[in-house]
């Protein structure tokens, strides 16, 4: 009763503090959605590859950009004990200069496993030679179904037959083609770059071309029962690097540092929120020690006084959570689709639970001062 009457009696004061906490909650929510968005944007195409394990060239630190596997290497992996099935995955960086806005993209050759791509628009058939499925975020660059994309430096053309989603890599949309098309693009861009360099002999270029023919960047494998990533790694030896798609996604491109930074901001904002709530209620408690002493003298127990405080905190944090979620959704809704914003109910609930937990933790400051208030001081006008 006291708690709610007090809130109603101080609407401005408590409203402002709820707003302040709401902003902290919004920041936490945004950070959580953005870290999720950052992860999908940076690694969606890599981490979502349907496979138990990804096999990279040795010593490439799980970088798609550096890994090259020859036809023989692919065969070696495919026939290794414990490999139930496998498919080749190619990767190459391109720029698209045919659309309204020029943009970078990542071309993925994808064996025969196009069924793993969620199609949100266009045909669900596997792309034929010269055809491509592209991540929906390319729409923001003016790409539509049926468009012909001109790629540099390969100087090649692809026809868009479908859109997929959550398939970006290093924030660039992924373009999926069959392996033959990928190989053509890879050679054109690799050799195109080599040809620009001086003193590169035609023989060297020929050797490079031969090495990649029938090859890929990495190979995705499904493991036979009883085989683990570690046992396959031991089987294949140092010429290969074996890992799960999830771990591959979080490796490289500065991902560990980025995730640490975003998570760090979340933790710091939670701590700020706890301090704001804790200090606010601590100061209000100190401010009304006389009143608390009086209601204790009238018969209120410490437990009663603390329960009122917890009730106020719960009401305030709940109001703040409403404000915060609304603000975060508003901010997220006004972001362009290419921005990294991917709200996840589960993560938001965890963040909200953390806000409540921190708020109750902050209330312990006040509990200490509540316990210390002597009801005898209610009678003592001189403030002894």
């Amino acid at each position: 009763m006291l708690a709610i009457k007090e809130l109603l009696g101080g609407k401005l004061k408590f409203g402002l503090i709820a707003l302040a906490i709401g902003l902290v909650v919004a920041l936490t929510m945004l950070m959580s959605a953005m870290s999720e968005g950052l992860i999908t944007g940076m690694t969606g195409a890599k981490g979502s590859l349907a496979a138990d394990a990804l096999v990279f060239q040795g010593d490439t630190y799980l970088a798609l950009e550096r890994s090259v596997l020859s036809a023989e290497a692919l065969e070696e992996v495919a026939s290794a004990p414990g490999v139930a099935s496998s498919y080749a995955v190619g990767h190459v960086i391109v720029s698209v200069d045919s659309s309204a806005e020029e943009f970078d993209a990542r071309v993925f050759g994808l064996g025969d496993r196009f069924d793993q791509l969620p199609i949100v628009e266009g045909t669900t058939a596997a792309p034929g030679p010269g055809e491509a499925i592209i991540d929906i975020t390319a729409k923001a660059n003016g790409v539509e179904i049926g468009d012909t994309l001109h790629l540099t430096p390969a100087d090649a053309e692809l026809t868009v037959v479908a859109f997929t989603e959550h398939r970006r890599y290093v924030m660039a949309p992924a373009i999926y083609t069959d392996m033959a098309t990928w190989e053509r693009l890879y050679l054109a861009s690799a050799l195109g770059t080599m040809a620009e360099g001086e003193g590169v002999s035609a023989t060297a270029m020929g050797e490079a071309a031969e090495r990649i023919t029938g090859g890929a960047s990495i190979v995705a494998v499904d493991l036979a029962p009883g085989t683990t990533v570690e046992s396959l790694q031991a089987e294949l030896g140092g010429g290969f690097e074996v890992t799960t798609p999830e771990e591959a996604a979080l490796a490289g491109n500065g991902m560990p540092v980025m995730i640490l930074a975003v998570d760090g901001i979340q933790v710091v904002s939670l701590v700020i929120g706890a301090l704001v709530i804790g200090v606010f209620f601590y100061i209000t408690t100190l401010h009304k020690t006389g009143q608390i002493a009086a209601i204790k003298a009238l018969g209120a127990s410490n437990a009663y006084v603390y329960r009122q405080l917890l009730l106020q905190i719960t009401i305030l944090v709940t109001a703040a959570a409403g404000v915060g979620v609304a603000l975060a959704l508003g901010a997220g809704g006004s972001m362009p689709p290419t921005m990294a914003f991917d709200p996840q109910v589960g993560r938001w609930l965890v963040s909200l639970a953390a806000v409540y937990a921190m708020a109750y933790l902050g209330s312990l400051f006040s509990l200490r001062s509540i316990l210390k208030i002597d009801p005898a001081t209610a009678l003592d006008h001189s403030g002894h």
Partner: protein
């Protein structure tokens, strides 16, 4: 048999060089239906005496019997329970809860000892009416005058029908006329009831309205001192 017996109460604060003797060997008795004024200058130990009778402070020596119950032996929980049942306190600073109306401030008393019943609500309104506050029941303390606030505080102290009513400087923030009015209301409530009241004041004009006056100077009962 008197309702309240205070026997040889001594209270010292602190220890060593900072030790203060606030009360020294104070004794008196008080009958039902009587209003006792405790008169003394500031710092003479009046508030200390009230706090001890209320069970909020423990005496250094001596005993307090309320209806033969030795309340000085109570621990803080028992003292709190005894206060809720048998004692009403009016603080010098009235200590009304600022965001509650006058009636709600009265209802705090039953609220702290359990549930608020319909009888409690009726009693609250009746007490407010008795103290001339029928029209002020839904006003917050900020909307009341100083005298009205003091009367709300007295009405609140009466909510639990206490046997002992303890009132600290009820008139210190009021002019003489309003102060006397408050004391008269208090006395007429007590007369003919099975209760007693100690009112502390430093103002001899307020003490005039009481049934008995106990003078204390420097923590001692003045009558015990050589003239």
């Amino acid at each position: 048999m008197s309702l309240l017996a205070v026997r040889n109460i001594t209270k010292t604060y602190g220890s060593g060089r900072t030790q203060v003797t606030a009360l020294e060997d104070v004794s008196f008795e008080l009958d039902r239906g009587k209003l006792l004024a405790v008169l003394g200058p500031s710092g003479s130990g009046k508030t200390t005496l009230l706090s001890i009778v209320a069970g909020l402070l423990r005496p250094t020596a001596g005993e307090i019997l309320i209806d033969d119950e030795p309340v000085h032996l109570h621990g803080s929980r028992a003292a709190a329970a005894f206060r809720r049942e048998h004692v009403g306190i009016v603080f010098q600073d009235h200590h009304l809860v600022p965001y509650l109306s006058a009636a709600e401030n009265l209802l705090l008393v039953p609220h702290f000892s359990g549930r608020i019943t319909r009888e409690d609500r009726e009693r609250a309104l009746a007490l407010l009416a008795e103290f001339g506050l029928a029209e002020r029941a839904s006003h917050t303390p900020a909307e009341l005058s100083g005298g009205e606030r003091q009367r709300v505080a007295i009405a609140r102290a009466l909510m639990n029908s206490p046997e002992i009513m303890l009132v600290d400087e009820p008139t210190s923030n009021l002019d003489t006329e309003r102060g006397k009015h408050v004391v008269d209301l208090l006395r007429s409530h007590i007369h003919g009831r099975d209760m007693t009241c100690i009112m502390v004041t430093h103002d001899a004009r307020m003490a005039e309205a009481a049934d008995d006056v106990l003078r204390i100077v420097d923590g001692r009962v003045a009558a015990d001192l050589p003239a």
